[in-house]
Symmetry: C2
Subunit: 227 residues, 2 copies
């Protein structure tokens, strides 16, 4: 734990347990990558995957920036899952329920072809298990045009905010005001085939929704949530 | 437009039109705020609201950091809405459909009580219209304990990625591989009352779901999406 990952506000919500970190990272697939560009911070979204205690980031959106940025420049990778809006009796106690992981470090810009493939497979398996084996394998040229970053989960923290508002047991609890949570979830809609798709090609099984029970779906993006 | 907001990759997806910027900002309610802390970037999620060409950020999560950070320190505020996973015929052409707004600038830490109230009302109205009038008004003490940032939308850009994969008209279009999009949406579940809620208090009308038709719901967090 470093000064930076010390949980300053509401430390009771914080965690440094590795399994909590993994759980949040595994529930999302788009992170926000922060780095310094031209003397100021820049935050870009990108997709990622986790393998053990390593995070692989797809550098597409940020690739020019990343190449332009100094090697060995520090970054902050933040993954946030918004679970609900907390409606309190007082304006002051309103909040958002969320799970958030922050990872600090100096990412490695992968150059080795094997490393890049391992990173891309991790990202692909994370977002849509089965696609790596199903879709056409990357060519050498395509691989060269793809930026992949590797970041160790050495310096990280997790913060989770959940449950009802906490103004029910004070004087505000007597107010004639409804309080509770409106849960939010990310769901997938029915797949939309490419209008250019050749006839006679069905949606493969690995892209079908496996159901809504936690663990039953091959789609992590569904994120069945914490309840 | 500055060098920083010039859209370098896939400029055809980019936009500098103000109404596009507003539309993306209005569809979300949690942003990622990037700033420099202890010599490196730090990215934290926080809620926000827009009023005209001004963004108000709730500084709760970042308040200690923000107070510690230099006044007149530059930030980057990024709002990302993930609309779907794009499944292509080749691994290389896989992507994510999204809308993303990036705002650069030096935020103002509000100190005037009237300014703070205006900012908080904007955030409250943005997330849950009607709550500001319904819930208990902030006390002077609560207001003093709340951090609100104001950031002008002077330097900003928007990027939108949508539609099917683009490898249908090349040689990969002949492959026996399904291609298309799995749309993702954020939906609200049924409200969950605080277990400590006093009896006899019904969910107020302004918190009820107004329906699924775009424009019919008072809940912007529902984000009916682009289709």
């Amino acid at each position: 734990m470093t000064e930076r990952t010390r949980l300053r506000r509401l430390p009771e919500q914080g965690s440094h347990r590795r399994e909590d970190l993994h759980a949040v990272l595994d529930a999302g697939f788009v992170c926000h990558l922060g780095m310094e560009v031209e003397g100021g911070p820049m935050v870009v979204p990108t997709s990622y995957g986790r393998s053990g205690d390593v995070l692989y980031l797809h550098g597409s959106v940020a690739s020019r920036t990343l190449r332009a940025a100094k090697r060995s420049a520090p970054v902050c990778v933040t993954v946030t899952l918004v679970d609900g809006v907390v409606l309190a009796r007082s304006v002051f106690n309103h909040s958002v329920n969320y799970r958030c992981a922050m990872v600090f470090g100096v990412p490695e810009l992968l150059t080795d072809e094997g490393d890049k493939l391992a990173g891309l497979k991790t990202i692909s398996d994370h977002i849509a298990p089965g696609q790596w084996e199903y879709a056409r394998f990357p060519s050498g040229k395509e691989l060269a045009a793809t930026t992949v970053l590797r970041l160790a989960l050495d310096e990280a923290s997790v913060k989770v905010s959940e449950g009802p508002p906490d103004d029910g047991d004070g004087p505000d609890g007597e107010l004639e005001v409804w309080a509770g949570e409106i849960p939010l979830r990310t769901v997938r809609l029915d797949p939309v085939a490419d209008p250019d798709l050749r006839g006679g090609i069905d949606l493969p099984d690995h892209l079908r929704d496996g159901g809504t029970a936690p663990g039953a779906t091959p789609w992590r993006v569904l994120d069945p949530g914490r309840r």
